[in-house]
Amino acid sequence: MRLWQFHGGVHLDGHKELSSQVPIAQANLPKFLIFPLLQHIGEPTEPIVHVGDKVLKGQIVAHCFGSDCSLMISAPIHASSSGTVVAIELRPVPHPSQLTAICIVIETDGQDVWTELNAIPDYTSLSPAAVREHIAHAGIVGLGGAGFPSHVKLRPQDIDTLVINGAECEPYITCDDRLMQECPQDILEGAQILRHTLGGTKRCIIAVEDNKPSAFQALSQVAQSTSVEVVKVPTLYPTGGERQLIKVLTGKEVGRAQFPASIGVVVHNVETTRAVFRAVTQGRPLVSRVVTVTGNGVDCPQNLEVLLGTPMREVLAQCGRKSDIEQLIMGGGMMGYALPRDDLPMIKTTNCLIASGPGELRVPPPLLPCIRCNACAQVCPIHLLPQQLYWHCKAKDFKRAQAYHLFDCIDCGCCAYVCPSHIPLVSYYRYAKAEIRASEREHKKAEQAQQRHEFRLFRVEREKKERAERHKQRAKGVDSG
């Protein structure tokens, strides 16, 4: 199969061998499970249980407004084990803001009893819409790390290519690699289900980076007699980016401000695909995921199937936590962010935890001024001009930054990685994007306030007139009477 190349990209040290050699193990059942209400991109959920309620594994504990997530960009949250709801309160959550958010806390009873599960024995007999609703109900979101509710990406019409993303291009992460090696059949069947849900796509491609030969082998074997193509793509960061992968596989560019669906392509991650398989064939909602626990800060780096809501501390302990962890990072080596504490819960988007040992991670060397070398532009996979973006974001000139397509930036970090002056370029872009989004929100609020103010002026004016009118009437009455 012919492959294409996207612009730029960088070759990175994978650090994958740390965790990629050991089979996926089951993480222990913790005493307490913590479920933040927002674990995906979109609308937060609302608790539908109360403190003191008994819950079963797989039972929905927080639902979208109106209890129908299939119509919204949102996904319900399920208890990942049986037990009792002991608190619904503010708890620190894994988020770059380091803020607290409302969480449902469940004390587990050790029985791990499932609620009644609704499997679909023959999904082909159901309409795509019905399968999609089932997937929405199972709380499945993009497990590659982005956390976009999956059912929303199954809605579009006229899709001819379904891509299953097994590129896994970020350093340190190996959960998809292990999953592809150990459960290729599940992934393959999940892909067929997704295909059906999209109305039967012509093509289905599973893409694997060529640094994962065993995964490629395993998938190729099970896909042999099917129409699913398993494709090896060159290892280059960020091949796993949706747009980059589409370019590599089809040669097509997704236009600015467009979604892949507009050119007939939909991309889902391999673990998401497995979650769909489990949800449909076993009726099992998203209650666990595979997480890479790695870095020199643990004795046995490995992949664990972790119940969502498990505190990170327990998982680290199970992997032989060392005393000299320097930093705890959630996500991969490029796009992950540091966490301030280890009692945070594992959420749907936790694909990797890096516990770094002394000197393991690059400490940013002292900052130097930009020398206008343009190295950043050469590696930007989106063809942006990172240097221009940097100047405008730094000067808070958001209009110009937007004119240079700030919002197309995918935060991949290639530019900052190659910058010889060690400028934290992505931090500037994130800052600017957040400011622009906030000011749009405020602008909307201001417009409403203005309308209300003008209406008030109108009302006050009207009341004054009415009062004057009444006075006149009364005066007339007195005159004539």
Binding site: L38, P44, V93, H95, P96, S97, L99, A101, L367, K394, K396, D397, K399, I423, P424, S427, Y428, R430, Y431, K433, A434, E435, A438, S439, R441, E442, H443, K445, A446, E447, Q448, A449, Q450, Q451, R452, H453, E454, F455, R456, L457, F458, R459
Partner: protein, 179 residues
Amino acid sequence: MWIVIGTLGGLSLFFGLLLGYAATRFKVEGNPIVEQINTILPQMQCGKCSWPGCRPYAEAIIRGEAEINQCAPGGETAMLAIAHLLDREPKPLNAEDQVVADTKLLAVIDESVCIGCTKCIQACPVDAILGAPKFMHTVIAQECTGCDLCVAPCPVVCIKMVPVPLSLTTWKWPYPNSG
């Protein structure tokens, strides 16, 4: 439940229509630049710029009677946007105003103390306070702009401005502190 939804829906429809009507009927045919500045301003009508509202301040800027950095709630963002629009040199906010800009506030009425005098309702420029004479009042949190104009008129001092806590959806990445 349905009655509540019906009533609220009906009410919002009614007010929507009324607002729409007011918007066309009272459309201000003003100076387009004043209009543009006005859309940059946060529409709190708080008077912190020392003008009696956002549009009067916008007009004062154009008449050359006001500086571009007087809107504290709008903060640096509004100042820069105005500077950009008028092609003027940016002028930093004074430190006090910067603090105002950085903390979003919300009025909260202590309902156990409120005597239902309606003074705050008369002061609120955006009709964000609900209540009738002799009944306690409440602030519609979503509509409150945090202007604090209702605080001073209250004879029993039962209105407090409280900071709106940051949430995961309103948090912003900070300005990088180096480079």
